[in-house]
Symmetry: C2
Subunit: 307 residues, 2 copies
Amino acid sequence: MSVIYDRVALIGLGLIASSMFWAMRRDGLAGHVTGYARSSETRETAREIGLCDSVHDDMLDAVKDADLIVLCVPVGVMGDVMAQIAGALKPGATLTDVGSVKRGVIDAVMPYLPNGVHFVPGHPVAGTEHSGPRSGFAELFENRWHLLTPPEGTDARATARLRDLWEGMGANVAEMDPDHHDRVLAVTSHVPHLIAYTMTGVADDLRRVTDSEVVKYSAAGFRDFTRIAASDPTMWRDVFLGNKDATLEILGRFTEELFALQRAIRRGDGDHLHAYFTRTRAIRRGIIEAGQDTDAPNFGRGGGPRK
Amino acid sequence: MSVIYDRVALIGLGLIASSMFWAMRRDGLAGHVTGYARSSETRETAREIGLCDSVHDDMLDAVKDADLIVLCVPVGVMGDVMAQIAGALKPGATLTDVGSVKRGVIDAVMPYLPNGVHFVPGHPVAGTEHSGPRSGFAELFENRWHLLTPPEGTDARATARLRDLWEGMGANVAEMDPDHHDRVLAVTSHVPHLIAYTMTGVADDLRRVTDSEVVKYSAAGFRDFTRIAASDPTMWRDVFLGNKDATLEILGRFTEELFALQRAIRRGDGDHLHAYFTRTRAIRRGIIEAGQDTDAPNFGRGGGPRK
């Protein structure tokens, strides 16, 4: 593939930024990639593992002359970062972000946007529970969705070029209204994470009672929850505070449904439970058909005798 | 390895039974394995794919002369099945089961236990969301726990021999009090499944509002939930009804914790959220150290640039 941006600046060097770097390098999508992280330890690690073509101690040096600036910091500090870099952005440059919440980021960033700089907010629907500069890998975005939420009046060419970059890194790209994005993601990501955090916390309390058994005999369901609940605490704190209304609305629906199932268990209403569980099987099929997950029966733990 | 039981009968031919068959065959642990399933379609499939050395239309033919009988049916029907086969069991044979609930199974099976037959209940802490005779694979039990809950007075040699079989199939075996088992598993498996079912149900409701977007843009958290929620409805109905008290107790703790986090979000208490999420990261580390999951950063989706 050919170079899409001559100079790309990654602000914040965690899972997403480091995965972007390895993907852009693999596919030759960027001429030169600069990197900045607030922590000197992170910058040190980046230099050590060859993450970014140049790592800068000063954020302004990193964004200077960049054709694309990618804000890869927790959504709670996007506004602060933008306030600091706004004056150093090159006219004609494109600014984007990778935050999991879009309305809050737009409201925080737009007031500082210089004339002639194109802001195209984005959210890669991809991740692992790992964080930090060592956690990235080039394949993270492959066949995952990248959602762009350009505000009204955004330059269409800037949006199209950013789309090319993400498609170049293997993602499927869609455009969406930012408020709508936040409502959909509250269901598919934010509330599930909160629930996983909660269940893991409950088990942690009980561990004191049952010693290490809760960990030792953790079954598939719980292991998945703990993996989700191991995600970056700062990022997720900011997500919940930044998408408060939608999160609380979905939580309300969740507890309502949970109480109905709890009541069915208490009353011994097996038909209710069976019907409910049969219905939830169908949505799983939908996800596999949408190509958002695989149906491998053994989770890659060695091949079975047949398929 | 050498043959541990000359003749093994698998009653019910779903995920666990079919995985047992492939594992026993791979390692030469059983001389002859018979199989029975209530549904003629399942028996047909078993014959077609070579599942079991012989598949029987009559359950009594399957258990006749067996040295080990494994009940692989939903926990709600263990008692019924036992009532039917009790008279056909060979003196000196060992009877076991693979149910996720142990107290209920023991109470249902023991009244029918003939003199001279050893009942050693068990629970393989392993599974996938798939079910049926085609879903098994020999590696399912590898490095997973198999919990044995022999009632007081159980023949120690019978227990030791069954332990050899499960260890031969790759499992780590531990013995546990049945009531204690049910309390631990309520935390690590039963309530997590109920939560996953609930969240998937909520999303399914909302799908009608947002069309297919909930499925299309399902992020990692939600995808894991839907996978769990795709598990066999009959098996799980029976688990919740069979482990009612412990499930309801853990559910109570869960909603208490969830409400505390919900309140923190509503009040904008970021410190509370951050501290909670930091704590939950630790239990994940405990699970990885206990060898119950891997720490692979990319879930096997292709290798990153380094490790």
